[in-house]
Symmetry: C2
Subunit: 405 residues, 2 copies
């Protein structure tokens, strides 16, 4: 089986490593050797960690598109519309495509899936959600007897690393971000991670997969962790809560409510013990109930684990569709109508807040009144929350949703 790899960065090199170190097992499962016949890179002269063997290394994508000998393409190069257009051309030739490109997929997966279907090709993307965690496989195959109504996850390792450092070591945001950059977890421009966009893409892909509905990424509200203060992490910790950047989505059979935001989880929650660069996805199905899948969200061989599993499953199924039904219907993203508890830090003093909340019939317990007044409320509906948030008199300095266990 001849394989083309587009991109030879961290994940590309990880794929070469995994194909080499587990060659015997992989060949045994597929029944034939995998040969990396072509590698597409933007700079053919760049020195790379991977031994590319006898592969044709080229910066000319057309030479790959014109080649007759390619059975499957792995795309780990990133990029948006140009990449989409290239992958569509491969799919149109009936060539299977495996992509780790969440940015592009979150926007164009429906378009690509249609072309794949029309040309009897597989479009596989395990690596695009939560790195090495086999969550696509779990939802499409392991849990496919269920109707899934909730998906929630720690989907970004960079922000989880930063929040873990703040929580466990008491570092402030800036110092934790610097360390994440040094360790290679954060990029020079960390926007995609710290502002929540990366998690947004993944919760969109997860929700589409779990509910079988198209979701428009532009409808999904997102709040990052740039403004998270140590004070709130520490207050919440005293109340038995841990801050995590969570992508969450619920489906009522028609609409989804969906959001990416820093959320407070009870210490006993399965997601609360997911630390540093690790990811985890929590899935609720109507037969199985609660499940959770934990593992590495990034990394070369870790992500390659997902890519190569896609490749093995694609090869073993001999063309039979590995992917679930392609969604036809779209679901609109609406605000959640669930009542949640909230952690709120006000600038006013305790007496004023006590009056204020009593006036709105909101129950609460006091967390801290040393400087600001910090409370955790009882369940509040969305109407009432808006009213609270729009009040300017009592100066809300921080507000986080508390997720039930």
């Amino acid at each position: 089986m001849n394989l083309a790899i587009l991109g030879m960065g961290t994940v590309g090199c990880g794929i070469m490593e995994v194909l080499s170190m587990n060659r015997e097992k992989i060949t045994g499962l597929i029944g034939e050797e995998i040969t990396v016949s072509h590698v597409f890179v933007s700079n053919v002269d760049k020195k790379r960690d991977a031994d590319l063997g006898g592969a044709i290394v080229t910066d000319d994508i057309n030479s790959l598109l014109d080649s007759d000998g390619i059975d499957a393409v792995i795309e780990v190069m990133g990029g948006m519309e140009t990449t989409r257009d290239v992958l569509i051309q491969f799919l149109e030739k009936g060539i299977h495509v495996i992509s780790a490109n969440k940015d592009m997929l979150a926007k164009y997966i429906d378009e690509l899936a249609l072309v794949a279907e029309e040309n009897d090709a597989n479009l596989l993307y395990e690596a695009s959600i939560a790195g090495g965690i086999p969550i696509v496989n779990a939802i499409e195959h392991g849990l496919n007897a269920n109707q899934i109504h909730k998906v929630m996850g720690i989907l970004n390792g960079t922000t989880n690393y930063i929040l873990s450092k703040m929580t466990k070591d008491g570092w402030d945001y800036a110092r934790a971000l610097d360390e994440a950059k040094e360790k290679g977890y954060a990029e020079a421009d960390p926007t995609n991670d710290v502002d929540g966009f990366d998690a947004q893409r993944k919760i969109v892909l997860l929700s589409r997969l779990a509910y079988g509905r198209k979701v428009d990424i532009d409808e999904v509200p997102v709040t990052g962790i740039r403004n998270v203060e140590l004070k709130d992490i520490s207050n919440a910790g005293d109340a038995g809560l841990k801050m995590k950047l969570v992508g969450k989505s619920e489906f009522d059979g028609e609409n989804v409510s969906m959001e990416v935001a820093p959320v407070l989880l009870p210490d006993e929650h399965q997601l609360a013990s997911v630390e540093y660069e690790k990811n985890a996805v929590y899935v609720m199905g109507n037969a199985v109930g609660e499940t959770m899948f934990y593992g590495p969200g990034a990394g070369g061989p870790e992500t390659a684990s997902a890519v190569v599993s896609d490749l093995i499953n694609c090869a073993r199924s001999r063309g039979a569709a590995r992917t679930g039904t392609r969604p036809e219907a779209a679901a609109h993203v609406k605000a959640s109508d669930t009542a949640y508890s909230y952690y709120i830090r006000f600038s006013s003093d305790e007496a004023a807040i006590s009056n204020h909340l009593a006036g709105m019939n909101i129950e609460y317990r006091l967390v801290d009144a040393a400087d600001d007044t910090t409370v955790i409320t009882g369940p509040i509906g969305q109407e009432q929350l808006k009213k609270l948030e729009s009040d300017t008199q009592h100066g809300i300095r921080a507000l986080y949703q508390v997720e039930g266990n």
Copy 2:
């Protein structure tokens, strides 16, 4: 597609429920209706919760074996050799078999798998390990790019419920067991669960699957939780450790070391936060690193989730093997040669223990010296551990391995 179900207890009724409530999704995935055409039970007159529709309900297994219209058989009736013989006859007719029968499979899976292979039938058993957690699917498909070298899990909900009650509520073993019986988590004769045999079967099935080696269940040492004392749970808690009944297995490429025993896990370990009747399986692969899979270990619809997913995947693959390569080679179970830390409670006083351990060059930290002397040692090799255990002078009252994080 015509389906026969053998057994109509909790899981059988769960299967009927899941097939009914998720009918539309399941039919969509398979492309045809599932009809439960036959149900085999030992007592046809017994009242059942499930609506069996138009199925032929019979206590005559031969009428099913003689029938021409059955495409797949689900076995959820239990039993050992008789059940094996019946399933072999179905497989010989090329009929796919899905079984949740861990007791039988742990002993006879290699025999059944061979017959399945010879007759182009699928033998699927997702529900036999950790109930609703799709761990077979994860290892066979999601992580199949990896060589797996360690599997470890909380594989029995009954014992985990009892240990959680002891740990969280300070109940003693007898009271927690009584409550587990009342809630239906433990059977009248709880031997299989509390003595660790149920977990032993599951770690055997998991290891075979993960390493691709046959494993003889009789070689696997097992210690249950009957003798666990509250005192040790509480001491360990003070030291940041939680007691769990763990099935653990490691593979060095040739041999496996394997054991079921109560083990102490650091509070931060992913398995430590798995409470009450929940199960979880921890898998380490050479590409992906650490992963964990969490969910319900038992229950009607929960287990049915796994059974019905097997059915869907079997039907969708149209006969293409869903199962990995059938192991030919056997791995012998040998004692682990890893050095571990141990929690040890001695009857002697602190001074005597201090001398004793110093004489053996064993480092330790004192956990409690109020009555007995309790320590947590540094890493001890197996030789030295045996020497320690054989010493009768200092009265070892409790000894538990401490698992690293």
